[in-house]
């Protein structure tokens, strides 16, 4: 009943041969892998490609988290300690507190969409670049 999705593949499987130079005597050492063919994590961590990916992740998620937490706590603190302000009517019997509360829904959706876009444009392609350093995903291309 579940839709077919790619099953996990073992990256330790045989590395694909490239035309010309990959032989048994010469393992695919152009990738950042150790003797058993596992990714060489400390080496990957030091590459510019990975550092760029990490910077892009950190630069988005932490400021954005700080932003929505501050905005949410502002709303909570106003509700608790600025009752008169929050009780002002905006239209009909709808007051400032309710409008700000509904804006929390709006901001959540906006941040979610923003992150999805950012991840698809700036993170996922860079993930693919880093993965190629270790020769992952070759079989699927």
């Amino acid at each position: 009943m579940t839709k077919a999705v790619p099953l996990p593949v073992d990256p330790r499987g045989p590395l694909p041969a490239r035309q010309g130079f990959a032989t048994f005597d010469e393992p695919a050492s152009r990738f950042l892998v150790d003797a058993e063919g596992n990714p060489d994590f400390p080496a990957i961590q030091q590459t510019e490609e990975f550092k760029l990916l990490r910077r892009r992740v950190v630069r988005f998620v932490f400021p954005m988290t700080a932003l929505f937490l501050v905005w949410y706590m502002t709303y909570v603190l106003l509700s608790a300690y600025a009752k008169d302000f929050m009780s002002q009517r905006v239209f009909g019997v709808v007051n400032v507190g309710l409008v700000l509360g509904l804006l929390q829904f709006v901001s959540t959706v906006l941040i979610m969409l923003g992150y999805s876009r950012y991840a698809a444009r700036a993170l996922d392609p860079q993930v693919d670049v880093v993965r190629e350093l270790a020769g992952a995903d070759e079989e699927q291309r």
Partner: protein
């Protein structure tokens, strides 16, 4: 008060739902032999399916019955729950989902122990998972008892205990036969039904008030003993400085707790890779936004059409707002449907919790602490199944004992516990290079124990009319929810514990975890 509706109809709609879901569970899960099948459905769900299941996990009795009831009685102050539980998904989306999927396999312990000493950290992670899940489960079971009082006209405590037992037995059946795949399908079916139910009710209600939110709120406030004040902040939490601080503490636990709940975290393992995990949170967020907007309409609708006084006096108290409203607008049939959906919600959520707790015991404690990582997978699954039965029995007992307690506040305590022990440790181990074993242990145990101690000495347990032990008084901590103290404390202890440790973080393991968390390299997961 007389019971409402037709018990025979309620029971038969409920029985049909249970029969259908048990059949689905049986059909989808004829092979639950490996750990991966049993714990995480072989990671075979798509982001959309898992997003629905995630929202299903999250739409518990507390959020459907508790929040609509809270709004119907307390107005604005009840709405805080809705907002907190929507905003909370951003924590899961931005900080947790993808890193967790890439670094773990089955449990929270997998992630926390990744670059630490295995046995103490896994034991700590399992302890916190078991405590959090137990609190959450007792809340759900207690909710089942209260609901039954209203729906099936079972008024005696003995009769309610029988019903709680039946709920417990069915949930254990889901878990034993269905594993994660069966449980996930039950969640998906339930989430769709519940969402349809609240959306249709909300559209109907809005239509009744000429699609004017203002008119709805206005006629709600005219039917509330609080009058216009019910639309303003402070109806429930505005009494004095202590209750205001309690409100802030609750708000913090809500926003930080959701994405730290073990059974929500485990859901991220049922999808094949990090991108599907991200997609599942996006789906869940959309569904939650729709659902919690509807709770506002339904809560004020119940206030307008049923009246706060009638709701507060009904057998299930605040929790009965949604069923009473259903009876008011749709008669016996709609009441029966809402009842069946509410019951199924409780069933599905406790099944997910049981699975999480049993997985944590079998995978972290049995396989990695007792057997030191040399357990045979089949015996691990057997232990998980046995644990599920034990947890089922325990939670039936706990549910019977806590029957009649305020469900939403019990859930808020579980959220405070989750945020106090899991959030700090997951974030530190994913993003802070120096974080080490001692820091992990201090953060988990410090957060968990401080939170538990503050709960025990809070007004929830003793010293007030609504306490679990109303006749005893050993309360000295003034707040109902300890989140504002225990969550920062857990972050602080993790920091201090790390700096004071003699044993430094393992740089190779740290490199592996960081690269793996961001790229999925080495996790064996294809990213496309």
């Amino acid at each position: 008060m007389e019971s409402i509706g037709n018990q025979g109809l309620n029971l038969s709609i409920f029985a049909v739902f249970v029969a259908v879901t048990l059949y689905v569970v049986y059909r989808v899960s004829n092979r639950n032999v490996t750990q991966s099948d049993y714990y995480t459905a072989g990671s075979s769900f798509t982001g959309r399916q898992n997003g629905m299941a995630l929202s299903g996990d999250f739409l518990s009795a507390a959020s459907f019955l508790g929040i609509t009831g809270g709004i119907a009685v307390n107005g604005y102050d009840g709405f805080l729950y809705s907002i907190g539980w929507v905003v909370a998904w951003l924590i899961g989306l931005l900080l947790i989902a993808e890193g967790l999927r890439n670094t773990g396999r089955f449990t929270v312990g997998d992630v926390l122990a990744f670059r630490m000493r295995q046995r103490p950290v896994r034991a700590a992670a399992a302890n916190s998972t078991l405590v959090i899940s137990f609190f959450y489960m007792v809340a759900q079971m207690a909710g089942a008892g209260g609901l039954v009082a209203l729906l099936l006209d079972v008024q005696t405590k003995g009769g309610q205990a029988v019903v709680i037992t039946v709920v417990g037995v069915i949930m254990v059946l889901y878990v034993l036969f269905g594993g994660m795949k069966g449980t996930t399908w039950v969640q998906i079916i339930k989430a769709v039904l519940l969402l349809l139910c609240v959306v249709l009710m909300s559209i109907f209600l809005l239509g009744k008030f000429g699609f004017s939110v203002s008119a709805l709120l206005d006629s709600g406030s005219q039917n509330s003993p609080l009058g216009d004040a019910v639309l303003d902040p402070g109806a429930k939490y505005g009494l004095d400085e202590t209750s205001k601080l309690d409100f802030v503490s609750l708000a913090l636990a809500l926003v930080l707790g959701i994405a730290s709940l073990p059974h929500v975290l485990m859901r991220f393992y049922t999808v094949p890779n990090a991108r599907e995990a991200r997609r599942s949170v996006v789906w869940a967020t959309w569904l939650m936004v729709a659902f919690y907007l509807c709770t506002l309409v339904i809560g004020f609708g119940a206030m307008a059409l049923v009246g706060s006084r009638t709701i507060a006096r009904a057998p299930g108290g605040e929790n009965s707002a949604a069923p009473l409203l259903a009876f008011e607008i749709g008669g016996t049939v709609l009441l029966g449907v809402v009842c069946a959906v509410a019951f199924s919600t409780i069933l599905a959520v406790v099944a997910g919790l049981t699975l999480t707790a049993s997985a944590s015991f079998a995978h972290d404690v049995y396989a990695n602490v007792i057997k030191r990582g040399n357990a045979d997978p089949r015996s691990e699954v057997r232990v998980a199944r046995q644990t599920a039965v034990v947890i089922g029995v325990l939670s039936i007992g706990g549910g019977i004992a806590a029957n009649g307690q305020n469900v939403a506040s019990l859930v808020a305590l579980a959220l405070a516990l989750a945020a106090s022990s899991n959030l700090s440790t997951i974030l530190y181990s994913l993003f802070w290079r120096r974080f080490n074993t001692q820091g992990t242990l201090w953060a988990i145990y410090g957060g968990l124990v401080s939170c538990l101690v503050l709960i025990i000495f809070s007004p929830v347990v003793s010293g007030s009319r609504t306490s679990i032990f109303p006749d005893a008084d050993f309360q000295w901590f003034p707040l109902n929810n300890p989140g504002i103290v225990s969550i920062p404390l857990s972050f602080l202890l993790g920091y201090v514990g790390t700096l004071l440790a003699r044993e430094k973080a393992d740089p190779d393991k740290q490199a592996e975890m960081e690269v793996r968390a961001l790229t999925g390299l080495g996790s064996g997961l294809a990213q496309h």
